[in-house]
């Protein structure tokens, strides 16, 4: 699908688990944690340290493809807009009066200056250029030109904001940041939307958004969320007690990846009885890796979303979201939410993102041309193989 704009109807109720979710839940076992795959793979470390490789990734993964740049919950109502400058170009995201999410190059058609600077969702139906006050509505139409008589023959229809391909599906807003190319949104609006609808992502409310600017290659962030081998080690003082030291289950959804782990005490027969996310979410987690570039992880009472925006081979902006079924009301609910947010934000930034920075420093030395990945880390290899396939390179 290559339409400029579209919406997916928000489900009023959360659908049953998808075939992929049912498949992976049935793969979860409570047996011997030592029963793990025995395998070794090698991964070239220059995929992290090479500036040339980064340019190729930016061209083929972050241009001409659907890039999830915002969660739907960040633009919760019609007639809202916000600016995203994290993907190497300034993007204006709007939700028009009918609720349709749209994206535009955030540039005035008059003198080509950046139009809006609102980094957080702002209500209002008009966007006024700060230079000469040319005014646009949230559909990108030029609706006001001061002293229009000095532009004889001006056709407002030829001076609309430049649209970017945009699809909202499954609680994410995907944009192709390149106005000159056509992206294929099939996965975003199809199977991935089914997955995220089934975990209720479009119905979530934004509890908090945090922004991290890290000195790390963006793929190192993904790597940290693609294997559980590190959990009892890197997270020994935080999350280790919540999960058994065992391999995660994994299924591929096109180039994207779904992993699942049971929480401590998970029973293998759970898989035969669970049919909805509500039944599963307290027992285990779903963790999605979307190319490119998002990580979505479920928890019993919230969902974390991370959107990675690479700036260079060694710098990444990570927008980190905590989404909840509804905003906490009572003091106890607020306290619980704050505790979870603080824990997850700290673990993510001080442990996972930190180690991504360490990996970036390590690969930059060139001392280790190939890293080794063991049996519990083979999903990391899947991720990189899928990326290589899109890039058209051999791993």
């Amino acid at each position: 699908m290559t339409t400029e704009t579209s919406t997916i109807d928000t489900p009023v109720a959360i659908p049953a688990l998808t075939k992929y979710q049912l498949e992976i839940v049935r793969m979860l076992k409570d047996g011997d944690p030592n029963d793990v795959p025995r395998a070794v793979s090698y991964l070239s470390t220059d995929i992290y340290s090479s500036p040339e490789r980064f340019l190729l990734e930016r061209q083929r993964l972050f241009r001409g493809r659907p890039v999830p740049i915002e969660v739907s919950a960040a633009l919760p109502k019609p007639k809202m807009y916000m600016v995203n400058d994290d993907y190497g170009t300034s993007i204006l995201l709007t939700r028009d009066d009918q609720g349709v999410a749209r994206a535009f190059a955030n540039v005035c058609r008059h003198r080509c200056v950046q139009l809006s600077r609102e980094k957080e969702a702002k209500s209002g139906g008009l966007i006024v250029c700060p230079y000469h006050a040319w005014t646009y509505n949230l559909k990108g139409n030029l609706v006001g030109v001061p002293r229009e008589d000095v532009f004889p023959g001006l056709d407002r229809n030829n001076h609309k904001l430049v649209p970017l391909e945009c699809v909202e599906a499954g609680g994410l807003i995907y944009v192709n940041p390149d106005p000159a190319s056509k992206a294929d949104f099939t996965w975003a609006s199809g199977a991935l939307a089914d997955e995220f609808n089934a975990i209720g992502l479009p119905l979530q409310t934004l509890y908090k958004k945090s922004r991290f600017e890290i000195a790390a290659n963006w793929k190192f962030v993904h790597d940290a969320f693609l294997e559980s081998y590190h959990v009892p080690r890197l997270h020994s003082k935080s999350l280790a007690g919540m999960f058994a030291d065992r391999a995660t289950a994994c299924v591929e959804i096109g180039p994207h990846i779904l992993q699942s782990s049971g929480r401590v005490g998970y029973q293998s027969d759970t898989g035969s009885t669970v049919t909805t996310f509500a039944q599963f979410r307290a027992k285990g987690i779903f963790s999605y890796t979307v190319i490119s570039s998002a990580v979505i992880i479920t928890s019993p009472t919230y969902i974390n979303v991370m959107l990675m925006a690479p700036q260079s081979h060694d710098k990444t902006v990570v927008n980190y979201y905590m989404l909840v079924d509804r905003m906490p009301q009572t003091e106890a609910e607020i306290a619980r939410c704050e505790k979870s947010m603080n824990l997850m934000e700290r673990v993510t930034s001080e442990e996972d993102l930190w180690v991504a920075e360490l990996g970036t420093i390590g690969t930059a030395t060139g001392a280790v041309p190939q890293m080794i990945l063991g049996g519990m880390e083979q999903d990391v290899m899947r991720f990189h193989r899928n990326i290589d396939q899109i890039l058209g390179v051999r791993g």
């Binding site: 007639k79 209500s123 209002g124 139906g125 008009l126 006024v128 250029c129 700060p130 000469h132 006050a133 040319w134 005014t135 509505n137 609706v143 006001g144 030109v145 001061p146 002293r147 229009e148």
Partner: protein, 107 residues
Amino acid sequence: MPRLNVVTRSGQKVTIEGQTGATLKEALMAGGIDEINALNSCGGCCSCGTCHVYIDAADLPRLPAVQGQEDDLLSIHDERKPNSRLSCQICVNEDLHNLTVTVAPEL
């Protein structure tokens, strides 16, 4: 000069003198109501919608009706009410003595 009763965004009530022949926006600015003049204002030519005000309902009949571009811009406004006007499109005259006007929320 006609007296104008102004309610600012913060709810403060101010009385100013309006210069006959000026626009209501110009009168508000001259009277110290700077918040009516947005950073990205079009300068008072009905193309940006930033000088949005509410006219006291009892005073509305004293004004000519909304039309054309003013109506188009107001129709896009989130905060439009039946008594919404763009202050750059209202000409101050003696007939507007004691008009009560409230500055609408920022665009």
